[in-house]
């Protein structure tokens, strides 16, 4: 039910916050990717840091990862989860003011957090570099987000909790747990704290966090996005709802154990490493079950591909999801890891997932979402198609150059001379990598250019528009009866 006039009598979905998160996510995508491109350029021309600490690679790279992960990715996840939870629950958000607190506080945290990282504040844990004042702020904001999300589900007017909400819910619960435990630290000053966990235990906790941030945020959270927006966009139900539920529980159970594969050949017990390998391999089953479910869902919606550029992004995202979720378990195998670890192969793997899966599924979702929020068609299909090809070319250039660089790097590092000494110095290997870094830079520029095209296209789509007011449709009789039978009041 769509109404263009707002009046107090009808309860409308709170969609303005969805639009706000969406456009902030796009801004952070551009800022974060631009930081990544600049950092990539510094690896080719180190003098680009101009001797300024704020522009040094170490700080800029951390700024890049935090902006794209938490600015672009999490803003997109919160925005889309708030959009879908209202529609799958048939109610307005619980506590919209609290939701707006989440929005403003999160954006402020991103701005100040990025500033702190460039200023050199750094907790020293990858993907958890923000120092303790930010850690506390994030925990508070996240709990507020949980209250809004789960509170909305608690008020729902339909009995089942749709599968996308299970994935978004797992994201909220597990990320809260990971974030709080991994950041337990003793503050020394405002800008420096020390982890409560000593030595190897700290490493295990860090990669329990790190890998499950990949699992529950970059995989689970975005699967929530997929499970809501793919069927909506394809105008088809999920191919197998039962498979989605089975895959969810298998995914949740197996992912949480996989972290130690980041610590092969390190000072942690070998059985812990082996457990990480086994659970990483098991993980392939639920990951691919979801991919098959997505591919089969969209295979019935091919007619829409003629008119809907957004669906292309989602289809390609599924291909890269399949690649990344296969490559990850494979790289967890010790005899592969000995070659791939600490090389550019890992960077290529991360970006086949981050660009190919996370970014493309988000772009596809935004191309679906913004025209509906604005109540008008997409400004330019031509621009969206150009974005698709720029993104695909950028990803391929990036990933293939990093695969080649990683294998070369690995062979050079593992080459020994007749005395059993390392044959090539670190600097020699870095010099040999420079051409690949240049190629990666070109790939990054292409991908960023595509993102800018999307930003312009979506901005023009929304220009001068107000968010369309939408209220919950009447319940179909079967749902109303089921809800009443479960003790609810439709």
């Amino acid at each position: 039910m769509v109404e263009h006039a707002r009046n107090g009598a009808v309860e409308h979905y709170e969609d303005r916050i969805v639009a706000a998160f969406t456009f902030c996510s796009i801004v952070w995508a551009i800022a974060g990717m631009a930081a990544g491109v600049y950092a990539a350029a510094e690896l080719v021309w180190p003098e680009l840091n101009f001797g300024l600490p704020w522009l040094s690679f170490g700080r800029l790279r951390t700024g890049h990862t935090n902006l794209v992960l938490f600015g672009f990715g999490v803003s997109a996840l919160i925005g889309t989860s708030l959009y879908s939870v209202q529609r799958t629950s048939h109610v307005r958000l619980l506590a919209p003011k609290l939701a707006w607190f989440v929005f403003y506080a999160w954006q402020l945290t991103i701005v100040l957090g990025a500033w702190s990282l460039l200023a050199g504040w750094n907790g020293g844990k990858e993907y958890a570099e923000l120092e303790w004042p930010f850690d506390i702020a994030i925990a508070v904001i996240w709990i507020a987000y949980a209250v809004v999300f789960f509170g909305t589900i608690a008020r729902r007017k339909v009995a089942p909790i749709y599968i996308s909400n299970w994935f978004y819910g797992a994201l909220i619960i597990v990320v809260a747990m990971l974030h709080i435990v991994n950041n337990l630290a003793l503050p020394a000053t405002l800008s420096k704290s020390y982890s409560l966990f000593p030595g190897a235990q700290d490493a295990i906790v860090q990669w329990w966090y790190g890998h499950n941030a990949v699992g529950f945020l970059l995989t689970g959270g975005f699967l929530g996005m997929l499970y809501y927006f793919l069927p909506k966009q394809a105008e088809q139900p999920i191919w197998s709802y039962r498979l989605s539920i089975v895959a969810f529980w298998a995914f949740v159970y197996s992912y949480i154990w996989a972290g130690p594969h980041h610590l092969h050949y390190n000072a942690i017990p070998e059985w812990v490493q082996s457990l990480g390998v086994i659970m990483s391999l098991v993980l392939l089953a639920p990951s691919w079950a979801t991919m098959i479910n997505g591919v089969m869902t969209v295979s019935n919606a091919w007619r829409k591909l003629q008119t809907d550029p957004a669906l292309k992004f989602i289809v390609l995202a599924l291909a890269f999801y399949g690649l990344a979720t296969f490559e990850g378990p494979m790289m967890a195998i010790r005899s592969v890891n000995v070659m791939s670890h600490f090389t550019e192969w890992t960077i290529g793997h991360v970006h086949s997932g981050a660009l190919g899966w996370n970014a493309l599924i988000t772009f596809g979702t935004f191309y679906y979402l913004v025209p509906r929020l604005a109540g008008r068609p997409l400004h330019s299909t031509v621009l969206a198609n150009a974005h698709f090809w720029l993104a695909l070319a950028g990803i391929m250039l990036y990933v293939l150059s990093m695969w080649a660089a990683g294998l070369s790097q690995s062979l050079l590092w593992l080459s020994l001379d007749d005395l059993g000494e390392v044959r090539y110095s670190f600097v020699e290997v870095m010099e040999a990598m420079a051409p690949y870094y240049l190629l990666r830079l070109v790939g990054g520029v292409l991908f960023l250019a595509g993102t800018v095209l999307m930003a312009v296209n979506l901005r023009l789509t929304f220009a001068g528009a107000r968010t369309v007011a939408v209220s919950a449709p009447a319940l179909v009789p079967a749902h109303a009866a089921a809800f009443s039978a479960a003790g609810g009041t439709p």
């Binding site: 991919m291 591919v295 969209v298 295979s299 091919w302 007619r303 829409k304 591909l305 003629q306 292309k312 289809v315 390609l316 599924l318 291909a319 890269f320 399949g322 690649l323 296969f326 490559e327 494979m330 790289m331 195998i333 005899s335 592969v336 000995v338 070659m339 791939s340 192969w345 086949s352 090809w389 695909l392 070319a393 391929m396 250039l397 293939l400 150059s401 695969w403 080649a404 294998l407 070369s408 690995s410 062979l411 050079l412 593992l414 080459s415 020994l416 059993g420 090539y424 020699e428 290997v429 010099e431 040999a432 990598m433 051409p435 690949y436 190629l439």
Partner: protein
């Protein structure tokens, strides 16, 4: 008349006139055997041949110093490369044929062989860069070639496999997923072999 041309010329035409080549092959694809023995095998010979000549002449260069291998090793690696390419060709054609029923395409051997030959032709010819086996130079040439091949896959699949463009786009994406996973599997197998002492000597 075009259909009477040797398959190698018909597929090679994709480099100069892709639209015409796709239309010609879609209208009258050669039989599976003609596509395989008349084009794919010859195209598949090019990369190992160029790589062998380049390796013996200039040595493999990862960016530091050239690596020269004994002639016997080069021939063995070249032969393995050729067998692997043929396996990749056949397995991709089998997968394309298998997918065809899902995407409403023509599941004949002739069309799936034609598709893989068409898409692989630029890469096979681009492998001329193997004559100078510097890893970066090869990446520089072959990555854009690969992107061009992917474009041909999206563009050519609906016509060659006789399906709707929308379904063709889905099938092309599924094939890309298969090819990416195959490629990564190859990387993984290579890493396992190397780390177990088969191939270049590396410390583990």
């Amino acid at each position: 008349m075009i259909a009477q041309r040797p398959p190698l010329l018909r597929f090679g035409a994709v480099l100069v006139a892709p639209e015409a080549a796709i239309a010609s092959i879609a209208a009258d694809p050669p039989s599976g055997a003609r596509a395989f023995f008349g084009a794919a095998v010859w195209l598949g010979l090019l990369p190992p041949l160029f790589a062998a000549i380049g390796t013996m002449t200039f040595g493999w260069r990862l960016g530091v110093e050239p690596l020269f291998l004994p002639a016997g090793t080069v021939v063995a690696i070249g032969a393995a490369y050729f067998v692997l390419l043929l396996f990749g060709f056949l397995s991709t054609a089998v997968v394309a044929r298998w997918m065809a029923s899902t995407y409403g395409a023509d599941a004949s051997w002739s069309r799936s062989f034609a598709l893989v030959t068409l898409v692989g032709a630029p890469l096979a010819i681009g492998s001329v860069v193997h004559l100078y086996p510097n890893a970066f130079v090869n990446v520089l040439v072959l990555v854009p070639t690969l992107i061009w091949s992917m474009y041909l896959l999206y563009r050519g699949l609906p016509a060659v496999m006789k399906t709707d463009p929308g379904r063709g786009m889905l099938m092309a994406s599924s094939l890309i997923a298969y090819l990416l996973v195959s490629w990564v599997t190859l990387l993984g197998i290579t890493a396992v072999l190397w780390s177990r002492g088969v191939g270049p000597h590396v410390a583990t």
